[in-house]
């Protein structure tokens, strides 16, 4: 994944960059499977690698697919900021429990209750589903509102203003963009 990220940063052909982003998401999905998060892996593969790649390709079709190289002073200041932030973050991980530790505090608050009680209280074998749809269903409701707002925003940005120039592009963009929130809605349920 690190190699793919470096490639994304270096390549100036945006089409290749978008494809690499899809590969990056797929690798992420594989990593989720390795770390036991199968539901998350499904969603990432469908939504992250699928839908957002389609969205980005649609945007490329409407705009340009070449980028100009970044100016040198940008690169240097960005590197300084990034290295400083990275050092601080890695210093922060020194206090974290080690990977896979059963005694980590995160595993002993509500998680025990979810794992122990959800089969009696909700009756579903998949604990992720019962937490998503039952214990934290307001969260999921809020998520649906966010998707609705995003769909409304996309419509407001692309649908309303009809400049005489490039009118046909608006038609295309509406088709490409509007279908996307629908898609993500479908895969979230």
């Amino acid at each position: 994944m690190v190699i793919v990220a470096i490639a994304i940063a270096r390549i100036h052909d945006l089409f290749a960059v978008v494809m690499l982003t899809g590969i990056f998401s797929l690798l992420g999905a594989a990593a989720y499977v390795v770390m036991d998060a199968v539901d998350v892996a499904f969603t990432e593969a469908a939504v992250g690698a699928g839908a957002s790649t389609v969205l980005m390709l649609g945007t490329l079709a409407l705009t340009t697919s070449k980028e100009r190289p970044a100016p040198a002073k940008n690169v240097i200041s960005a590197l300084i900021v990034v290295v400083l932030t990275g050092v601080v973050l890695i210093y922060g991980t020194l206090d974290m429990p080690i990977y896979g530790d059963l005694m980590a505090p995160i595993h002993h608050h509500v998680a025990d209750h979810y794992l122990g009680g959800s089969s009696a209280e909700v009756g579903l074998p998949n604990v992720v589903t019962s937490v998503l749809a039952s214990y934290r269903s307001y969260d999921t409701l809020g998520e649906t509102f966010v998707i609705f707002t995003a769909a409304a925003g996309v419509l407001a940005i692309l649908g309303q203003s009809r400049l005489p120039r490039r009118q046909h592009d608006y038609e295309d963009s509406e088709k490409g963009m509007v279908s996307s929130p629908e898609k993500s809605k479908g895969s979230s349920t």
Binding site: M1, V2, A5, I6, I8, A9, V17, V18, F24, A31, M35, D36, A37, V38, D39, V40, T43, E44, V47, G48, A51, S52, L55, M56, G58, T63, R68, A70, N74, A78, V82, T93, M96, I98, Y99, L102, A104, I106, Y114, L115, P125, N126, V127, V128, R136, D139, E143, I147, T149, A150, G153, I157, L163, R165, D169, M177, P181, S184, K185, S188
Partner: protein
């Protein structure tokens, strides 16, 4: 530093995160910036899922004869976050298309120049 090998997954994630941040800061192209945000986002998701992992545990689907499961709560949070992330990406890309229609370019600096001229 006795816990050194156990922290390596976090460090890899931090490096990924910083690459995302670097892409966002250093590149002037708006689509590239959104790609950078995506990279950053995926690394944050990975960070959460890494914390949920229990050594020797399995996926949190209840079954006979299994005693140890990974923590389901971060999985749920990240499921929500992935979908919200795609929604924000869609909105950002829509803004990019709109900017391209108004200015004819998606490079940060050229937009600044055009703004100065007017």
């Amino acid at each position: 530093m006795e816990q050194f090998p156990g922290l390596i997954p976090y460090w890899v994630i931090m490096v990924l995160m910083m690459m995302g941040l670097y892409i966002v800061i250093a590149h002037g192209n708006l689509i590239k910036k959104i790609v950078g945000l995506n990279v950053f986002q995926v690394s944050v998701f990975l960070l959460y899922i890494t914390m949920a992992k229990v050594e020797g545990g399995t996926a949190p689907i209840l079954a006979e004869g299994i005693k140890l499961y990974s923590n389901p709560l971060p999985h749920v949070l990240i499921l929500t976050a992935i979908v919200v992330g795609v929604a924000t990406t869609a909105l950002g890309l829509a803004l990019v298309v709109r900017i391209h229609n108004a200015y004819g370019t998606i490079e940060d600096e050229e937009i600044d120049k055009l703004e100065d001229q007017t």
